[in-house]
Symmetry: C2
């Protein structure tokens, strides 16, 4: 798909220069120095030769085939250069030049034009405002980044050119081999979606690493990322998460970063392993690249000192994984290989004077034990320690059956060992805590990848009815749906609504209440009032005709005083709900990722503790149950403080029905069921109050 | 105090050896190679010479003065060697040899004997089972650790010898200078307390770094640590925090690690900066050593690329600090020094082609601006970037008025710059996130150090009355105090107790209820029943004589059925409390650190959310208020969901009174006021239920 970017037969550099330090020089120099074996075509009006190659004054003068064109000329000449490239049937265009969307409106316009021209010309465009790209396998360095990295199987793409160079530099320092490095810049055409799609299919790439500040299209991103994650691990650092971070992103790249919650939900859905720090990117990538995934979360620690073993065990527990003992038979067998003072519990302490043999004995035992899912080897440099020999011996006996990570702690003394580990495919970290964080990331990815196939349930619903309500409201421009209409919609989607009717006079209210049976709930109905309770618009447990009549009149009187001119349609008279636990089920539509479902316990749990969880629709039953379990207050659902356990499955069904409703009707932009009252197992939850917001009718 | 350890005039090595790799050889070699200018006295029965020095068969044969004796002989000869050393009036004894407390009971006994002998002989003892110590200023390396570290002003002590070597090795790699390095081993005599006391007064030491697995005496630790923290920053990594970690510590060092909550409270009280990971130890130490403390939490970021700037801004916000803009005048002045495309918001983006001059302009502006408390400089290696020159220019213009930290991101390209930063006293980190974490630690220490002096309030109380109740109960061995007696004690300490009396017959109950006035609360009184509510032993809002009579009989009948043989003393009849918010105030006495006060909101907040905070007694008013504010549910106290704001000051007073009570009476080992009912501002909180546990009488 991106062949002409990664393996072109020829590359032209428009704006090639003789002056070191100029971008046009560095690109040409990189292409030549990298050992690229295709045709290299320097273009510069001055002509002459560069790097022993003839320079063409204009691209159109070159008569051979041109696959890739790298453009590094001042902004105002870029469009002409692109036209020349398209005239020569180039399929891959890389615009290094800056001065487009990041500079404002006029730049944005130029950038769009650039993309349009390329699309019409049948070419793809990388950039503008990017560093270029590198494909180590093809010895292609079409970038002005430093030198050619070591070849390997980690692919890196980055929205920030500066981070691209920093990662390239860091990869060199850590001896990490890269398959591809792509700076995607302003993403006028090619974006993270294309990168994920291409790199997922790239045979040289085992792990994909990305840095993003925004995402061009949420739906497509999720599809591409999920597909890629199913094939290989995808690790992404997404910045601009907090308000201040977002401000920085906005002022620097001219993009509006999405809300972090939505990104979190999107990454979770698509199996993306999210790196929270710059360090974590390569920490994770190295392990994913070198080691198999753990089949469980039982971590065995091997150490030559108690302190670091304890630190690692602390970290394992903190991240919710397990420090389990060796199988009894295995530990008995190991005992004969270790001195009496050694500990064969977990951590296995091979003692301070351990040589390679003891490490190997412990490693073999751990590899043989079915109760161990991953192995962490710690080494501190003590008097008798031989880091290099130990590293070599460990590598020799690593059988690849489960992940092995290491932390050889220290500096100069352990360095020869660390180098051997890196060369031998054993990821090594400066501290036990970092190694444990990596194991956690590997485990989470493994769980996602091995998730059971789950179908989204489709419930039988009355879709036509909802269509009618929505289109009528959209036509009249009344986009806020109050309790009555929101409940009608929910009823059509299978929700349990209490018996009730709108009364427009006190007398009617009494009649309805008598028909339903006392006690009743009374709630004002008005398009101008959203928070009914705050204005005294809700009365519960109204027990007699007299009370209903009084409540009606008082409600009208008082609300009218507080919101003069409000349109009061009447009062909704409703059967009182049986007591139960109050929960909130809601949805807000994220501009990038679509419907984000929300769940939380009602009252203080939402208002004070903000204890809610999110998930992107459509949602499966398993995912819905997981949403409930992810709240801090989950125990409340299981029965506490005099409550019996509530019907958790019924809440999960409610979430799935909301998922179906908001997937069926993109017109619904917000929805709240607050509260939904949930009773004991076997009872139906009841929608006690609800509201929705619709999008305006598109003309 | 530890002069003979740090600056001895002569050092004897008992167990000196000619064989490289043997501990007795390495210590001698280190002493010689380190350049120590005092007398070095090798002792070995074989005699002869080592390193051109005469070897004495026994320590007693040497006739000169011996200040320090390092013992590295097999365990069984250690006591004799110590006796010889004491006979020669040595004042500093270092036992390298292992085989003592860490091996079990017999080893523990030997270790105690060793400590006793030294104490009687007027000498101090370091170890056993340690690495020795290093004092760079005196060129003294009395250890078998690697070579002599670079001299500097960070002192390191460690309970784990292995971590000592790892830290020494790491310090070398990071070019960090050390003043002292002390391996405290099994702490038979000298412990972390002595280290804190000595290093706090050590003029060569500006920052103290420690690794601990346990603490020998909580009270003294807090005193020593607080005193040290008042003089200089103390950074401690304490392992064994989680259950698995604790197990590892127990099986490895034979010590029982204290509960993590108590350590957290102790560190907070004494101003210790807690490192959560191995990386963090030197991350923090370097910055504390090189830079002034920030006067506030407003961080200014300078970067040559948007991405890293965003990452740093994210990290600042996540840790609760501020990314604030430059003062308007300052930013206007800066504008003229930067290209038009540069951002002068925060982060200041000096752009990808920035040379040293732009960094300097931004740094000067930030240093001049009163609204900036700390500066973080980020650099990524781009085409025009000159890391080394930039580092030099930054260092030259750093005025020391506020902390400046850096993250030069990448590998080989930025390394020359990173080396300049380290040499120039500017702490540099591999990622922006790590640098921001350091700023947070610096800020927290600064806040602690500048804390306003606060007095612990002493309330007038009836101490004699409590003394009588407690001693009577201790004498009779009834160590569980139920509601009635616990309330009597609390009343004596100024708590508001509802009017109530014990009834022993239904008739008496009715009389009391009539006297108090209906409705009343009724609670069973029995030494055998702790959780009254669970057994139906509590009835609230009992409204009439008939109901009181019925409730009394039913309570007795039913509890007797559930707990046959329980001693039922009667039923406590109490005035009903006015409605309010339920909170818990409690105390558990930690064996190391004494009374740990607890506060939380009642009900689900404690039971489901475990939302409680702790603080060591004695507590000041400010600290008590801080405890309340640290709960997640603090907002509830400020008024939510129909509640008015409650009297927060009154809760703080209750905590202070409990602090006074449990400081006055070490006999109280546990105390719960659950619930205490708190009303609106101006009302007195009421103790609705309480219980206490006493320690057995010491005979």
């Amino acid at each position: 798909m991106l062949d002409k970017f990664f393996t072109p037969a020829s590359v032209a550099v428009v704006g090639a220069s003789r002056t070191p330090g100029k971008v046009g020089h560095d690109i040409l120099a990189n292409l030549v120095a990298g050992g690229y074996e295709g045709e290299i075509i320097p273009v510069n009006p001055a002509g002459g030769t560069m790097f022993d190659r003839p320079v063409y004054a204009r691209l159109t003068e070159y008569r051979g085939q041109i696959d890739q064109v790298v453009i590094a000329v001042p902004g105002q000449y870029v469009l002409d250069a692109i036209r020349d490239a398209l005239g020569r049937k180039a399929k891959a265009i890389i615009v290094i030049s800056a001065g487009f969307r990041e500079t404002g409106e006029e730049g944005s316009r130029l950038q769009s034009e650039m993309a349009d021209i390329c699309r019409r010309g049948g070419a793809r465009l990388l950039g503008p405002n990017c560093l270029g790209l590198i494909n180590t396998e093809a010895k292609l360095n079409s970038s002005f980044a430093g030198g050619m990295p070591k070849a390997g199987s980690i692919a890196v793409f980055s929205q920030s050119g500066a981070l691209c160079t920093a990662m390239l530099d860091l990869a060199g320092k850590r001896h990490i081999g890269l398959s591809k490095l792509i700076s995607i810049g302003n993403k006028a055409d090619l974006s993270e979606i294309d990168m994920l799609t291409a790199l997922a299919r790239d045979e040289q790439t085992k792990v994909i690493v990305g840095y993003l500040e925004d995402i061009v299209a949420g739906d497509e991103f999720i599809k591409a990322a999920e597909d890629a994650s199913n094939r290989k691990p995808v690790i992404i650092l997404k910045s601009g998460t907090t308000p201040a971070g977002q401000k920085a992103a906005a002022s620097h790249t001219g993009v509006l970063t999405g809300a972090d919650t939505a990104y979190g939900a999107a990454f979770k859905r698509s199996g993306v392993c999210r790196a929270d720090t710059f360090d974590a990117l390569f920490d994770y990538a190295t392990a994913f690249n070198m080691q198999p995934l753990p089949m469980g979360d039982r971590i065995l620690i091997i150490t030559n000192a108690g302190g670091p073993g304890t630190m690692a065990a602390d970290a394992v527990e903190k991240l919710g994984m397990q420090v389990t003992a060796l199988d009894r038979n295995v530990s008995t067998a190991l005992r004969s290989h270790l001195p009496a003072a050694a500990s064969i519990a977990n951590p296995i302490d091979v003692l301070g004077d351990a040589g390679p043999d003891r490490y190997v004995a412990a490693l073999k035992a751990a590899q043989a034990d079915d109760q161990v899912d991953a192995i962490l080897i710690l080494l501190t440099p003590q008097a008798m320690t031989r880091p290099k020999e130990t590293a070599l011996a460990i590598i020799e006996h690593m059988d690849g059956s489960k992940p092995v990570l290491a932390s050889f702690m220290g500096g100069k003394d352990v360095m020869p060992g660390r180098r051997q580990l890196a060369a031998g495919g054993l990821p090594d970290y400066e501290s036990p805590e970092r190694a444990v964080a990596v194991l956690k990331a590997m485990r989470e990815y493994a769980v996602w990848r091995d998730r059971p196939p789950q179908m989204v349930t489709r419930f039988p619903v009355n879709r036509r009815r909802v269509e009618r309500i929505i289109s009528r409201r959209q036509r009249t421009g009344k986009l806020q749906l109050g309790e009555v209409r929101a409940k009608n919609i929910l009823k059509a989607y299978g929700f349990n609504i209490l018996e009730g009717r709108l009364a427009t006079t006190p007398g009617e209210a009494v009649e309805i209440a008598k028909f339903i049976g006392f006690p009743v709930a009374m709630k004002v109905v008005s398009p101008n009032i959203i928070h009914k309770t705050d204005l005294g618009g809700v009365r519960l447990d109204v027990a007699s005709s007299q009370e209903v009549e009084d409540a009606y009149d008082l409600m009208m009187l008082r609300i009218w005083k507080q919101v003069p001119g409000a349109l009061l349609e009447g009062v909704y008279i409703e059967k009182m709900a049986d007591p139960g636990l109050e929960v909130i089920v809601g949805m807000t539509r994220n501009p990038q990722f679509g419907p984000m479902l929300m769940f939380g316990l009602g009252g203080i749990f939402v208002e004070v503790l903000k204890d809610v969880t999110f998930h992107l629709a459509p949602i499966t039953e398993g995912e819905a149950v997981q949403m409930l379990k992810s709240t801090r207050s989950y125990e409340m659902l299981k029965g506490k403080r005099g409550h019996k356990e509530v019907d958790i499955a019924a809440i999960a069904v409610a979430l799935q029905r909301i998922s179906q409703l908001t997937t069926d009707f993109p017109q619904i932009t917000e929805l709240d069921i607050n509260p939904m009252i949930v009773g004991e197992i076997g009872t139906e939850p009841v929608v006690a109050d609800a509201r929705m917001t619709l999008s305006p009718l598109k003309l």
